[in-house]
């Protein structure tokens, strides 16, 4: 093989292996929003696993290097094991996400993990030969010679890249990719619509880790050696830079980024001749260019060369069976909202909440929540009637929002219990309550900003087949039909709230009022049994407030129960069957609005005038 040919082969192999790793990190960070600064550790784990599984016992090569285990596995088996080990390690690292930390704390924790891993390997020479590293790692194509071996390896890496891409797209595109992006955009909102964020994170870090392990194994099979200096935490930076330059969250952008960054700059410059007497000059120049590129893109083009597209391609009105009901609705767009209600061909809710049972849907028992020394909620007890709209009112600081937070599982109570549909849900996590039908909205809108309005609704659909493991494996054939049904339902909801024209708009571009409406629509999409609305009309125009009220009444007609935290008494009077008055964390009174108006102490405490 000539020098030039060798150069090209090396660059191509580096490109392919880096690409697999960059795709994996992009899935974790770019798409799912997990700042895994320890990613390179997973690449290293794959490389070491492959090395140890192919080198044989450490006595077999003269004993100049020592390591644990040692086997003569065939290439494919070693490759798969390497991938599996990194996937498991990735999932373990993902468990750190159980502690919900600020992203920069997470980044810092990952940094520590990365450096600790290096320290452990360097310190313990019994594990994988310490800082000297492993050498003589067999090339799977050792039977081939010269350029045949080189180009053979390039072809093999190319084929594996294609396979990895096919697997990757199952996670990064379509409904599953949409789900991950929703989690990235707003974790709490994802929890509120019943998404198990922790499980998703761990799954994503396992998949990303598997890709890292594959990348490391392929790399080490080619270069034949592996040591701690090959996987300093700064290498994660090279991958991150590739992602930022190429386009965060875009698989094809990452291809371009990987071509530019790690391959050409970090690896490419190392093949250039050394200038002068400073052997560090060339590699350092490579790093400096890398740093400048990163900063340049962060400043001037943070979306990268190929920006992230819409999570699911949007075809406005081209689906023929979709267009009809939309057009039918548009005729009524100018009419008042209420007049369209009786003509509704289908109910708003996909599943009608069980109305057969009587009694209360939710009970709050002696709820207490302390923040430091402050008792925000102080022994509140009340019930929510099935199929009713219950208002929760009281002066600012009365503990209404905290109570709502506890009911929905976002705040842990210091004492007391929450019973929903007869079951004790006091300790159930937020996402599980949402799945049971206890769904909240937020006082400050929390939209999935990078998703369109329609996608915001579609992603909230419960029990979607596309979000299951079977859905990822089965692909569109498994979930395609259901996806279409969900979209239809979402469009109907949009029509009902007269937001069809915003269907393809990214949610972050909506107005404040539209975001509020989206918040309620998204909650309705989850097929709730009890909806907890936290000041849904705050900041809405009188018209929109009225419209939202109509929607609440229509939903109640269909059997939905609603709890409404509200300051506007006119709205409360119009909508609520029962009103709970909270003062200083305690339930002060409960009854109908008309009833409460006659009670003097209530008037004095809250409804003055």
């Amino acid at each position: 093989m000539t020098g030039y040919e060798y150069y090209v082969v090396v660059l191509l192999v580096y490109f392919g292996t880096f690409l697999i790793a960059a795709w994996g990190l992009n899935l974790e960070f770019g798409i799912a929003g997990v700042p895994n600064f320890a990613y390179i550790v997973l690449v290293a784990a794959g490389a070491y696993t492959y090395a140890v599984l192919t080198l044989g016992p450490d006595s077999s090569n003269g004993g100049f290097q020592h390591y644990i285990y040692g086997a003569h596995l065939p290439f494919v088996a070693a490759l798969l094991c390497a991938s599996a080990v990194s996937a498991i390690l990735g999932a373990i690292i993902g468990i750190t996400g159980l502690k919900r930390l600020r992203p920069d704390y997470q980044a810092m924790a990952m940094l520590v993990v990365s450096i600790t891993a290096t320290t452990i390997v360097v310190a313990d020479t019994g594990l994988v030969n310490g800082s000297a590293g492993l050498a003589l790692i067999p090339n799977p194509l050792h039977r081939l010679q010269g350029s045949q071996q080189g180009w053979g390896y390039v072809a093999m890496v190319g084929v594996i890249c294609c396979l990895v891409y096919a697997v990757l797209r199952r996670f990064s595109s379509g409904p599953f990719g949409r789900l991950l992006r929703a989690m990235r955009d707003d974790e709490e909102a994802a929890l509120s619509v019943g998404k198990n964020v922790v499980a998703l994170r761990i799954a994503v870090q396992a998949v990303g880790g598997g890709m890292a392990g594959l990348s490391g194994a392929l790399l080490v099979g080619f270069i034949g050696g592996w040591s701690p200096s090959a996987w300093l935490f700064i290498e994660t930076m090279a991958l991150l830079t590739a992602i930022i330059i190429g386009g965060m969250g875009n698989d094809w952008g990452v291809v371009i980024g990987t071509l530019i960054v790690p391959t050409l700059i970090v690896q490419g410059v190392q093949f250039l001749p050394t200038v002068g007497n400073n052997p560090e000059l060339i590699p350092q120049l490579g790093w400096i260019i890398l740093g400048l590129l990163t900063i340049g893109f962060l400043f001037f083009r943070p979306v990268g060369l190929v920006p992230e597209g819409r999570a699911t391609p949007f075809r406005q009105g081209v689906e023929p069976d979709d267009a009809r009901p939309l057009d039918a609705r548009r005729d009524h767009a100018l009419l008042s909202f209420v007049s369209t209600l009786p003509e509704r061909p289908a109910p708003i809710l996909a599943t009608v909440p069980a109305t057969g049972e009587s009694g209360d849907i939710l009970s709050v028992e002696a709820l207490v929540r302390e923040f430091g020394g402050v008792r925000a909620v102080d022994g509140a007890t009340f019930t929510v009637g099935r199929g009713s709209i219950t208002g929760l009112i009281g002066p600012n600081g009365a503990g209404k929002s905290t109570t709502l937070g506890i009911m929905s599982g976002f705040i842990k109570p210091s004492a007391g219990a929450i019973r929903f549909n007869g079951a004790d849900v006091t300790n159930a996590p937020a996402y599980r309550r949402a799945r049971l039908g206890l769904v909240r909205t937020f006082q400050l809108s929390r939209e999935f900003g990078s998703l369109t309005t329609l996608e915001n609704l579609v992603v909230a659909a419960p029990r979607a087949r596309s979000e299951s493991a079977l859905g990822v494996v089965g692909g569109r054939r498994y979930w395609g039909l259901e996806e279409k049904e969900i979209k239809d339902r979402a469009r109907e909801l949009l029509a009902l709230f007269q937001m069809e024209d915003k269907a393809a708009e990214r949610a972050r571009n909506l107005s404040g009022g539209q975001k509020r409406v989206l918040e309620v629509m998204r909650a309705v999409m989850t097929e709730p049994a009890l909806l907890l609305l936290d000041e849904p009309t705050a900041g809405l125009s009188p018209l929109l407030t009225h419209r939202l009220g109509d929607a609440c009444l229509a939903l109640r007609q269909e059997g939905l129960s609603i709890v409404l935290v509200e300051h506007e008494l006119e709205t409360v009077e119009r909508l609520c069957d029962t009103v709970v008055v909270m003062v200083l964390g305690k339930v002060f009174a409960q009854g109908s609005m008309a009833d409460l108006r006659t009670r003097k102490e209530v008037q004095e405490a809250y409804i003055a005038g």
């Binding site: 600790t116 930076m237 560090e280 740093g291 900063i295 006082q443």
Partner: protein
Amino acid sequence: MGVVVQTIGFGIAAGAVISLGAVGFTVQFGISNVLNITYGAFMTLAAYLGYWLLNRGLDVWVALVLVGLALALISVAFNRAFLSPLQRRGAGFVSVVIGTVAAGIILQGVIVILVGPGAITYGAQFGRTVSGLGFVFSVAQLIIIGLTLTLMLGLHLLLTQTKIGRAMRATSTNRTVARACGIRTERIIDLTWLLTGFMCGVAGVALAVTTVTFDFSLGATFLIYMIAAAVLGGIAQPYGAMIGGLVVGVASQFGAAYWSPAYQDVVAFTILIIMLLIRPRGLFAAAGVARRNLSAT
């Protein structure tokens, strides 16, 4: 018993330097809300600047103060020219972190190109040793311990007892509201970078004094200890960082003495990871700093 005391002594000496670096780092992070990875590279820069001044015949402690002042100005400029504009453009937490990593890479690269990759030394700057209570410290170590205590106490009092400190904390919690309340947040941020930049410079020189030889990777390697100390103590807590630094220092010395010198860092970082798992906001978490993103509404 003697070994235990001596190990604690070594730990305190090692921990003092970590604390010195961590106190500035943690306050910078806490008040300006930037996890500044460049801090390590700036310490390297400080160490080389100190070396340069030392070779001009200056006393090492004079050099330490001068370098501190230089780094104070450099840090303010760094924030004004780089980080603030980046934040104004809407870069998220993680993007800014990546920006500081990139800046650190560039600075380190420039240092290597200018001074070469070889190791240098300040020579013996330790002075004579002082012993008592079973501890043995060099004068230099005592000076560094004193410096750490003084700066930590000063920063703590500034943050908790003065109007400026209150303004700094207000700015950290919510910059927009702070500005609406009449706090000149730009000045407060400048002041934060000035103070922490000074501490960064001082820590860089102090680190070089206590290290036998060092090279361009000095600060980048050391950064992880400071992060460990800052996280252990809770972000934006000067005394937390100091105690965190001591914990890391003493733990690693015990690891070295009773297990193997090769494992001393493993011990320190393992403590940190366990800490992150059970009490992620640190021993003395500042209310309002680490919690902001997590509150329910």
